[in-house]
């Protein structure tokens, strides 16, 4: 049956969405085959924002290549930097001070909230509500200010370096995070009032873009997309890195498999991230924020792999070293690429209006897909 639907017949309409379409959140190009209003096939065309970051990294040293990963998944740049730093540290075999570990996890969870908040606003805008977008940016702005004070940048942080973090926390950091937590708790209720319980929104999301547990696994989905289909895949829980093994964290699972399940998973994840921040913010150990490392980093000959959980799913860094100053090969496993590959499966047989909701629920960041 599925093969039948995939074939182009006479009378089918082929439409391009993107690369310059506002609802694709970037330069994603989808070629969709339509039969009336029903989607028969979705074909993503990639490469519009390919910057060859992997190849570029081969000529950069182990300190330098990290800055480029902030520009891949720019909404969770802290977590991307974290993954790279972990991989280099694995090769260097250095012990990271506990203070640096806590700072990293705190920053990672704040980034996750900022990313999910932006996704919430963008998804609501995709399905036709403009107001939530401004509400989302209001909260994200506070997080950006808070990170700007400590890291010096708002989007492309380059804060986590091999051995720890680049600067110590700003003296205002703890106070401002406390302010943010108390403010954000009331705002989550506001989000539910505005969007989650809205009857029109529920009708647009429920039963749309279904993907089963088995299909989510075989497409290699990760992050909230897979967890909404009941696949347990939270790297923070399964393969804890840094301080994650010691904090109370609940993996959010849902077995709906549709757009609404993915929505609910992300909304609950925001609360989980808040609880992790609450556990850590008053218990930041004192000490150094960086381990002593050599001026020139050289990884011993071999292969290294580390993975972290970004806001979109599993982000993997694979380094092949020949013992020189620069890596022989770097490969990134980006969550967006695998999640996008499932869009054809999700959209087949749905209406064209639902395609935008499916794209929104996947939380695609195009520079992360193309690299």
């Amino acid at each position: 049956m599925l093969e039948e639907i995939g074939k182009t017949e006479e009378g089918d309409l082929i439409i391009n969405i993107g690369p310059q379409h506002p609802s694709t959140h970037g330069v994603l190009h989808l070629v969709i085959t339509l039969n009336g209003e029903t989607v028969k096939k979705v074909e993503p065309h990639l490469g519009y924002i390919h910057r060859s970051i992997e190849k570029m990294s081969e000529s950069l040293s182990y300190r330098q290549f990290i800055y480029a990963t902030s520009r891949m998944d720019y909404l969770s740049s802290h977590i991307n930097n974290h993954g790279c730093a972990l991989c280099v540290e694995q090769g260097l075999e250095v012990e990271i001070p506990e203070r640096a570990q806590v700072i990293r996890v705190l920053m990672g969870e704040l980034t996750r909230i900022a990313s999910h908040v932006l996704w919430w606003g963008a998804l609501a805008m995709d399905v036709g509500a403009i107001t939530p977008f401004f509400h989302a940016f209001r909260e994200r702005e506070l997080l950006n200010d808070l990170m700007e004070e400590t890291c010096g940048a708002r989007l492309t942080m380059n804060y986590m370096v091999p051995g720890g973090v680049m600067f110590d926390l700003h003296p205002n950091f703890q106070r401002r995070v406390h302010e943010f937590i108390s403010m954000f708790k009331s705002k989550i209720g506001e989000y539910d009032e505005l969007v989650t319980n809205n009857a029109i929104f529920i009708n647009r999301m429920k039963g749309v873009g279904y993907i089963s547990r088995e299909d989510a696994i075989s497409y290699g989905c990760s992050g909230p997309v897979a967890r909404a289909s009941g696949v347990s895949c939270d790297i923070r829980k399964l393969y804890p890195y840094d301080i994650y093994g010691k904090v109370q964290l609940e993996e959010v699972l849902d077995d709906g498999g549709d757009c609404y399940a993915r929505y609910i998973v992300r909304m609950k994840e925001m609360q989980q991230s808040l609880s992790v921040i609450e556990q850590l913010i008053d218990n930041i150990p004192s000490g150094d924020h960086m381990a002593k490392t050599k001026a020139v980093l050289k990884l011993p000959k071999g292969e290294y792999y580390s993975r972290v959980e970004t806001a979109r799913g599993e982000f993997g860094v694979y380094i092949v070293s020949e013992g020189k100053m620069t890596p022989y090969r770097i490969k990134y496993r980006s969550p967006g690429f695998s999640n996008l590959s499932a869009i054809d499966h999700m959209a087949r047989g749905q209406k064209i209006g639902d395609l935008v909701a499916i794209m929104g629920s996947l939380d695609l960041v195009i520079p992360d897909i193309d690299r």
Binding site: R63, A153, T156, H170, E190, A199, I200
Partner: protein, 156 residues
């Protein structure tokens, strides 16, 4: 679908919509919670760690701290910094390497802060300026050390 569920669906839909409208109405009537900033007229203060561009601070006697060791040039991932050195004879009569020109390509810079961390004498730092747009690309290539400046006493 019975008539009862038909009407209860209509009412619950309207109730959920009104709830959202109430929230929107709240912000419509509470102007103090509007956070829009009128940017060119009002510029919010930037934190001191903000990375705008690389600058080289000079003291009152037009002296900087750069020894021309090229640690920042090596640390830069984009080739933003080019350092030209010269041979200078110091007070003791010895020949010594000194900074001639510190060329900084702002158009290539990604503000990653690696040069600032690498500098052993804290000669360069990040400035808070961020309005860098110009009409001519060449005016983004800057020389950071001021003309006639020299190395501060006591810095090796």
């Amino acid at each position: 679908m019975t008539l009862k569920t038909y009407f209860s669906n209509i009412f619950s839909t309207i109730r959920s919509l009104l709830k959202g409208m109430r929230r929107t109405g709240y912000y419509f009537t509470h102007h103090k919670e509007i956070i829009t900033q009128q940017y060119p007229e009002y510029k919010p203060p930037l934190p001191e760690r903000f990375r705008g561009e690389v600058v080289m601070p000079h003291n009152a006697d037009n002296e900087h701290k750069c020894t021309g060791c090229t640690a920042c040039e090596l640390a830069c991932p984009n080739g933003t910094i080019k350092i030209v050195t010269k041979q200078e004879i110091n007070a003791a009569g010895k020949k010594k390497k000194a900074l001639d020109t510190f060329v900084y390509h702002l158009e290539l810079c990604t503000m990653c802060n690696l040069c600032i961390v690498a500098c052993p004498t804290d000669a360069i730092e990040m400035a808070q300026s961020f309005e860098h747009s110009v009409f001519d690309r060449n005016s983004l290539i800057k020389t950071l050390n001021e003309p006639g400046s020299k190395l501060e006493e006591g810095i090796e």
